[in-house]
Symmetry: C2
Subunit: 133 residues, 2 copies
DNA sequence: CGGGATCCCCCGCGATACTG
DNA sequence: CAGTATCGCGGGGGATCCCG
């Protein structure tokens, strides 16, 4: 726990200030799930199990072919999902979350929880801020 | 393309995840804390209490003055922190997390926890992926 | 069907200079 | 000290074409 002041949420003191370097784990996680298509793909795969490329593309609205492929490759490289190519004609490719990738679902659920609990306050603050400027 | 109505398959609403529209709260939260300087500023203010502009600038290594100001303004607008200007000579400006902003600290702590628990696996997966390609 | 390769545009961001 | 204003570029990402 905090060595300085009480009332500080635990979890940040131990690692010191490596959160302020580019290579810190938290930073890299945010870089990953902060990617719009990455997080959407994780949620889609988490909800519906394995999906084909075209299924992902149709469910994640607005994603370009290039960005979807790019995001999926990055996730595969990071071990978050598996990519299974069936060399039929035409080709079939299935994507599925790995156990590691599945551990991100609760994390995203926490984000969702905060968002649903507090985003209305953000909107109010934003409206108030804009109205007086 | 813009904000066309999402034509996603039925069933997402039930699941609780509505992440496939651009305006969904979770999406907006990720847009906020996905911002490198925003999350770093929140952590810095959470750890060390109120800080002056120059203190934030020195603690968040590598941030440009423009981006720091821009991020802080956005956070103020969203009600995540307060900006207090003391019209002395020279001017003094203090930034402090609001109660709303403080509620983000546990969320970021969760992210940090996942990162510390699993980022090593990501690195292994990444190394394995790179070595066989 | 599931991409890879290419072109190109936009704007986010840094650097710099100036002000209250 | 804590910003604002302006310029310039680099690269992220969409659009398009093509291929196995």
């Amino acid at each position: 726990m905090g060595t300085t002041t009480a009332e500080r949420p635990s979890g940040f003191e131990q690692s010191g200030f490596d959160a302020f370097t580019a290579l810190c784990p938290s930073r890299r996680l945010l870089d990953t799930i902060g990617d719009k298509w990455v997080s959407l793909a994780i949620v889609a795969l988490g909800l519906r199990g394995p999906l084909r490329y075209s299924e992902l593309a149709s469910q994640i609205e607005g994603v370009s072919q290039k960005m979807l492929t790019q995001s999926l490759r990055k996730m595969e490289r990071d071990g978050l999902l598996t990519r299974t190519v069936t060399p039929s004609v035409p080709v079939r490719t299935d994507y599925e979350l790995t156990p590691l990738g599945q551990t991100l679902l609760p994390v995203l659920a926490h984000l969702k929880e905060w968002a649903e609990d507090h985003m209305a306050e953000v909107d109010e603050a934003r409206t108030a801020y804009d109205s007086k400027v």
